[in-house]
Amino acid sequence: MNDQRPIADRPQDAASAVALATVEVTHDIGLHARPSVVFTRLAKSFPCAIGVEVNGDGVWLNGKSIVKIMGARIRKGFVLSIRAEGAAAAEAVAALRTLVERNFDEEKSHARSA
C-alpha cells in the first residue's frame, strides 16, 4: 500500500491511464437485452473502471452493470461516451466502441460463452 519510492520512479501504470471515446448507437432497437449482455460482458473482461454517459447528460453509469445499462433505455441515435480509467483503458474503450459500431455483432450467431 505504501509505496516508498519517489513519485517519478513509480511505474506509469494503471491508475493514471484514462481513455475516452464517443459513439452513436446505430442498432435499430438500441441496447435491449442481448446487446446489453454483450456490452457489459466485454466491459467486465477489462480490469479498468468503465463509465458510460448517455447523450452528454453528465451521469456516468457503471459500464459493467447490466442493470444500469438497461436502466438507461439506450435507443437508436443516442450518443454514448465511453470512459475507461486504469489498466488497458485504451484497449477497453476501443473494443467497446467497435462493438457498438458493429451493432453488437447482432447479425453473428448468438454464441454462448460456454
Binding site: 432497437i29 438500441g30 435491449h32 437485452a33 442481448r34 446489453s36 449482455v37 457489459t40 460482458r41 457503471n62 452493470s65 447490466i66 442493470v67 444500469k68 438497461m70 436502466g71 433505455r73 435507443r75 450467431s109 448468438h110 454462448r112 460463452s113
Partner: protein, 536 residues
C-alpha cells in the same frame, strides 16, 4: 419403580392423544428467528446463486435462442446493482423475501411503464427472475417433526402447526401457551388434543406420552393402560375432521320462530375446504391468511396468494368469502421473526401492515386480482381508528390503478372491520367500512386487560365473558344503526352456551370452526330470535 409422570395443566383442545414425545428445541418453534441483517442478506444471496445455477442448467439444455434469453437473466442476477435496493430494504427491517419481491416489483413496474415496446417486454423477464429467486428462497421449510408425535415445548408457532401433517394423530403439550391462543384455536378446529400451562418437567424425545385435552393432563404413557384410554375416549373423542359439519337437509338455518340465520366457516388453511361442502354453509366468514405464510418468501409470493384466493372463491361459487388481511404481531410474528408479547398493545394487525406496507401491497394486489373470481370481502384486523381504514383503502386504490395500467384484470372488494378493539366497537359510524365482524377473542383480551397467551391470567380472561356479552349487547345496536351488516367470527360464536345471548344481542350471521357447526346449528334452531328457548 419410579413414580409415574403425571402433570396437570389446562386443557386447550379436547380429546386424548397417545404417542412418542418430540421435544422441540428452543430454536425450532417461534423462539427461532432472531434477525440479523447479515443472515437475511446471505439467504438472499444464496437464493440468487441457486437461481443462477438452475438457469445455467436450463441454458445448457436449451436451444441457442432460448439460451440467449436465459443468459440475459443470468447477467441480471449476477449484477450486484440488482441486489442493492433489496439490501437497503433489509437494512430498514424487511425480510429477505419481502425485500426482494418489493425491489423486483418496483423494477418490473419501471420496465412496464416504458414507452419502448422492447423495454416493456423485458418486464416479463424481470418477473421471471423475481419468481425464480423466490422459489429458491422457498426451498427453506420450517422444522417439522415425525407424524403421530406428541409435540412438547414452551409454545408452538401457528405456521409449524399448519405445516405439520396431523392425519396420523398426535397431540400438543406446552409448558407455556394459553387456551385462547391461535394455536389452541387451530388445534380445536383440527381435533388435535392439546394441553397448555404444563408444569416444567424432564421429558425426553421418544418417551411415550398421553395428552388428555379434556382433563388437561399429560401423563407417562407407559403407566396408562390402553383400556383406561379407551374408557377416556368415550367422553372426549374429537370430532373427526372428515365428518360433514352440517347435514344438507338442515339447510338453510333459521330460528325456531322462523328468522333466517347464516352460518359461515372460519378457515385457517385452504386444505380444510376438502372436508367442507359449499352446499352446507353460507360461505367463508373468516379466512385467516397469516397461517398460509410459513416463510418470508411465502409473504412475497403474489402468484401463490392469487391462486389460493381464486381457488377459494371458485369453491364458494356465488357465496361470500371473507378474507382477512394478514394479522401478524404478538403471538403470531411474521415468519422468521421473534414473538413480541408486548405487541398485544403494539404493532399488530392493520397497524403492522400499514407500518410495513411491502407485505400489505403484495396481499392487496393478490386480492384485487382474485376478486373477479367470486364474492370476495376483505376484513381488516385490529382496526382502532378511521384513518386506518382510509389508508388501507388508499393502498387498494393505488394498487388497482397499477393493475389497470398493466391491463391486469381485477375488482375492488368491499372492506370490512374486524371489531376487536373496544374503541372501534363504540364508534362504528366513524368508519368507512362496508361491513363489520366481531372478533371476540381479542375483544375479551382487551376488555379484561389479560393477555390471551399468558397462562397466569387465563382465569381472568375467562371470567370476562359476562362483560364481553354485555359489551356486545351495547355495541351491536350501534353497528346495526349504521345500516351495514354485522357478524361474529370469534370463538364465542362456536360456543352453544353463548348463542342465546348472542342472538339477543342481535347477531344473525355467525362464523365458526367447521367442527363447531353441528352443535351450534342444533342450538340455534331450538332458540327464538330473541335468544329465548322455543320449547316448553
Amino acid at each position: 419403580m419410579p413414580e409415574a409422570l403425571r402433570l396437570k395443566g389446562q386443557g386447550a383442545s379436547p380429546g386424548i392423544a397417545r404417542g412418542p414425545a418430540y421435544v422441540m428445541a428452543p430454536e425450532d418453534g417461534r423462539a427461532r428467528g432472531v434477525r440479523a441483517n447479515g443472515s437475511d442478506a446471505a439467504r438472499l444471496a444464496e437464493a440468487v446463486d441457486r437461481a443462477v445455477e438452475d438457469l445455467r442448467d436450463l441454458a445448457g439444455r436449451s436451444d441457442l435462442e432460448s439460451a440467449a434469453i436465459l443468459e440475459f437473466q443470468i447477467e441480471m442476477l449476477r449484477d450486484p446493482a440488482l441486489l442493492e435496493p433489496s439490501l437497503e430494504r433489509m437494512h430498514r427491517g424487511a425480510e429477505a423475501g419481502v425485500a426482494w419481491a418489493a425491489t423486483m416489483d418496483a423494477y418490473v413496474a419501471s420496465f412496464e411503464e416504458a414507452e419502448d415496446e422492447h423495454i416493456r417486454a423485458r418486464g416479463a423477464d424481470m418477473m421471471d427472475i423475481r419468481q425464480q429467486v423466490l422459489r429458491a428462497l422457498h426451498g427453506e421449510r420450517p422444522p417439522d417433526f415425525p407424524q403421530g408425535s406428541i409435540l412438547v415445548g414452551r409454545d408452538i408457532a401457528p405456521s409449524l402447526f399448519l405445516s405439520h401433517d396431523w392425519s396420523r394423530g398426535g397431540g400438543i403439550a406446552l409448558f407455556g401457551g394459553s387456551v385462547a391462543s391461535h394455536v389452541a384455536t387451530l388445534a380445536r378446529s383440527r381435533g388435535v388434543p392439546m394441553v397448555v400451562g404444563v408444569p416444567s418437567a424432564e421429558i425426553e424425545t421418544g418417551m411415550e406420552l398421553v395428552v388428555d385435552g379434556d382433563d388437561g393432563v399429560v401423563e407417562d404413557g407407559s403407566a396408562v393402560p390402553a383400556s383406561a384410554l379407551a374408557a377416556g375416549r368415550a367422553s372426549g373423542i374429537p370430532v373427526p375432521i372428515g365428518e360433514p359439519a352440517v347435514a344438507a337437509d338442515e339447510f338453510p338455518l333459521s330460528t325456531a320462530d322462523g328468522i333466517r340465520l347464516t352460518l359461515q366457516a372460519n378457515i385457517d388453511h385452504p386444505s380444510e375446504l376438502r372436508h367442507l361442502s359449499p352446499t352446507n354453509v353460507d360461505g367463508i366468514g373468516l379466512f385467516r391468511t397469516e397461517y398460509l405464510m410459513a416463510s418470508p418468501a411465502d409473504l412475497a409470493d403474489e402468484e401463490r396468494q392469487v391462486a389460493i384466493y381464486t381457488e377459494m372463491l371458485a369453491w364458494a361459487g356465488g357465496l361470500p368469502v371473507t378474507i382477512r388481511l394478514l394479522d401478524f404481531g404478538a403471538d403470531k410474528p411474521p415468519p422468521g421473526e421473534a414473538t413480541d408479547p408486548s405487541s398485544f398493545l403494539g404493532l399488530r394487525g392493520i397497524r403492522l401492515l400499514l407500518a410495513r406496507p411491502d407485505m400489505l401491497r403484495t396481499q392487496v394486489r393478490a386480492l384485487l386480482r382474485a376478486a373477479p373470481a367470486g364474492r370476495l370481502r376483505v376484513l381488516l384486523p385490529m382496526v382502532t381508528a378511521p384513518s386506518e381504514v382510509e389508508q388501507t383503502r388508499a393502498v387498494f386504490a393505488e394498487e388497482a390503478a397499477r393493475l389497470s395500467a398493466r391491463g391486469v384484470s381485477h375488482a375492488m372488494p368491499p372492506l370490512g372491520l374486524m371489531v376487536e378493539v373496544p374503541a372501534a366497537a363504540l364508534m362504528p359510524e366513524a368508519f368507512a367500512a362496508e361491513f363489520f365482524s366481531f372478533g371476540t377473542n381479542d375483544l375479551a383480551q382487551y376488555l379484561s386487560a389479560s393477555a390471551r397467551d399468558n397462562a397466569a391470567v387465563s382465569p381472568l380472561y375467562a371470567a370476562a365473558r359476562a362483560a364481553v356479552l354485555r359489551f356486545l349487547a351495547m355495541t351491536v345496536p350501534l353497528v346495526a344503526a349504521t345500516g351495514r351488516s354485522v357478524g361474529i367470527c370469534g370463538d364465542l360464536a362456536g360456543d352453544p352456551t353463548a348463542l342465546p345471548a348472542l342472538l339477543s344481542c342481535g347477531f344473525r350471521d355467525f362464523s365458526m370452526a367447521p367442527r363447531r357447526m353441528t352443535l351450534a346449528r342444533a342450538a340455534l334452531s331450538r332458540l327464538n330470535a330473541d335468544g329465548s328457548e322455543a320449547r316448553g
